[in-house]
Amino acid sequence: MSMNWKNIGLFVTFFVLVLVVGYTQSWNTALVIFNMGLISAILSLGVNLQWGYAGLFNIGVMGFVALGGLAAVLVAMPPTMEAVNAGGLRILIGLAMGALTIVGTIQMRKRMAPGRARAIATVVVLVVGFFIYRAIFDPGVAAVEAVNPASTGYLGGLGLPVLLSWPVGGLLAAAAAWVIGKTALGLRSDYLAIATLGIAEIIVAVMKNEDWLDRGVKNVIGIPRPAPLIPYEVDLQNSQSFVDSATSLGLDPVIASTLYVKLGYSILFAIVLIVILLLAQLALKSPWGRMMRAIRDNETAAEAMGKDVTARHLQIFVLGSAICGIAGAMMATLDGQLIASSYQPLRFTFLIWVMVIVGGSGNNWGAVLGGFLIWFLWVEVEPIGTQLMNFITSPMADGYWLKEHLLKSVAHMRLLTMGLILLLVLRFSPRGLIPEK
């Protein structure tokens, strides 16, 4: 992008806003907002890849983010050996059986001629496969979940460094996206939307209910940190050299340790964001990027030029979803826990869309800026709204029902504000803050 002053000013605005929060509220809050802003920017880049480059309407972002979070658990948590011994093998064989049934059905349908025989064979194979799968799978699950359910009751992970889960999260999301893309791409655009909406709900439902996988709604806590890059606060406070340097800077060692950890995450996330942004920019400027935009702007013409539209769409859909998966794994690493019930579509899908549209679809810098600004707004709308409501209701008598109701409902101002921003931007500045060139 041509780095003109307006765009630089927009980015500076965000950093100034964060600084204001740092001075007026606390530096801890400022860094929390900044770190999630970085992750939001990555998510928004992923969606921009799909929507801005290719015009694909994916409203299942939540599902891919959740898969990333799952990857963090599967990679970084220590394995529960007892549970693995009790039913791990059974579960694996069961899952393999299920996959085999589906692959077998597809292969069989390819070989047989269409007709009644094929339809009957399909149903028979699927039903028989399903019952065999359940027969192998269910006892394994029961055995695993019986192992110390209060603290584990799941298979655990591989006990590998958590940083490894970031690419793994990307791979998991890519695999899910491939399956969805295979079925729904090439049909009308709304169908992809519904299909992604559905798969996201299902991924989260699986994560909430399959206790053997990630403890379901009992949550996985204590995902290890990417040590030694990010140390634990307690260790820092116990290290004499850290305490000394903190006091020499005039900081309380406890506060200094939390800031140190959060800054470490900021640097880590910023590196990932810069790498992805760089790759996305290179891709946009390459012949591949031009082809993508050509397809987006006129599918028929691109097809006439010999481009395989559906295959290209599948490619970019998988790539964009993989980025969302990476961001999801980063988020779980930052939180140090996986809370399956925290994955809400309004927060993890639709908010990202607001970021992309407001920032400027088709422009990577715009997507990053949208991620920063909208995330800031999402966090700060509540305190601002509370103050506003306090002001509005100040002439009302204490205990008056309307006053209490208004003050209680402030939390829901967020959705209203976001909807309003989205509609206003779409109406009056449909190309966003930093438009595509």
Binding site: I59, L187, R188, N209, P345, L416, M418, G419, L426
Partner: protein, 336 residues
């Protein structure tokens, strides 16, 4: 006797709930499909429109209840329903004027309208949560059951009870009346015919002097009524919670697509297909099988194909199957 017991158990746990749920889905899907046919976009705000209509109805119901107005055995909500419909009509016409009309005049791409409807969804969702809060609300009153399980047992002498909730009866009766009215309107009245003509071929309809704004206005009015009725019936039958209504989007869209987007008859069929599959696949069949199978074949488990937490997976799976094998839906829908 065993066969009778099996039939009663089946009706009690599968048939009646599925028919009631199917009617609710069908009413919701009719709204989606009408908007798709006339305004040519998938309206993601539909679930939250239903929530808004139900919310207004609930507020009026509470007001009536506080004044001591009741409908006897019927829920007071039926009395409040017209007010809910009127409020939703105002809301939808207002949104159309303020939001959608601009894009219609610009002839924006359908996908832009879908994103716009996403913004509307946010606002409606926020509005509903702001006014009534995100919690569960109960507003059903009147007689709870038409047939009570225990009375049925005493009357028939069977060991299985049959319960028929008032809300289920109201749902089914209302759905039949509403659908009949809708089809009469679409097929017999001048406005209805102009709506269908507009949906079939916009240019031809415009050439024959049909006023598009009038058609659009009527569509929103009908959709408001359908959405409110569907929302209130669902709330009476289960309970009212804003987030559940948002989640209903998936089965409703699945119903509309399975039936063929833009085809009202398909929407109804789709609603029942989705509802019956959801209920039968997540129902534990043990009870029915115990009556039907000989003793030595008794099932050991619950014979539940999928846990109820995965009911969304069922509508989704059916949707995918239909998309793979018959992308225009069971009844011929539009495929733009």
């Amino acid at each position: 006797m065993d066969l009778l017991n099996a039939i009663v158990a089946l009706s009690n746990f599968v048939l009646i709930p599925a028919i009631a749920y199917g009617s609710q889905l069908a009413l919701g899907a009719l709204g989606v499909t009408l908007i798709y046919g006339i305004l040519r976009f998938s309206n993601f705000a539909h679930g939250d429109t239903m929530a808004f209509g139900a919310m207004v109805t609930i507020l009026f119901t509470w007001w009536f209840q506080s004044m001591g107005i009741h409908l006897g055995p019927l829920p007071t909500a039926l009395l409040a329903l017209p007010f809910g419909i009127a409020a939703t009509m105002l809301l939808l016409l207002g949104t159309d004027r303020l939001v959608y009309r601009f894009y219609r005049e610009k002839k924006a791409a359908p996908v832009i309208l879908v994103i716009v409807s996403m913004g509307v969804m946010f606002i409606m969702n926020g509005l509903v949560r702001f006014i009534i809060g995100p919690e569960d609300q109960k507003f059903a009153d009147g007689a709870r059951f038409i047939i009570k399980a225990r009375e049925f047992k005493a009357w028939s002498g069977l060991s299985e009870g049959l319960a028929f909730k008032t809300s289920q009866a109201i749902t089914i009766v209302t759905a039949v009346v509403v659908v009949a009215l809708l089809f009469w309107f679409l097929n017999k009245t001048r406005t209805g015919k102009s709506m269908r003509a507009f949906s079939d071929n916009e240019d031809l309809a415009l050439l024959s002097g049909i006023n598009p704004e009038k058609v659009v206005t009527y569509t929103w009015l009908i959709v408001a009524a359908l959405a409110t009725i569907a929302g209130v019936l669902y709330g009476l039958d289960k309970s009212f919670k804003p987030f559940t209504y948002f989640q209903l989007l998936l089965p409703i869209f699945a119903s509309a697509i399975v039936g063929g987007l833009g085809n009202p008859l398909g929407a109804i069929a789709g609603g029942f297909v989705i509802a019956f599959s959801e209920v039968t696949i997540t129902y534990a069949w043990r009870k029915v099988l115990l009556y039907l199978l000989p003793d030595n074949l008794e099932p050991s488990g619950l014979v539940q194909l999928l846990s109820t937490d995965y009911k969304f997976a069922v509508s989704f799976a059916i949707l995918i199957i239909v998309l793979l094998f018959k992308p225009t839906g069971l009844f011929k829908g539009k495929s733009i």
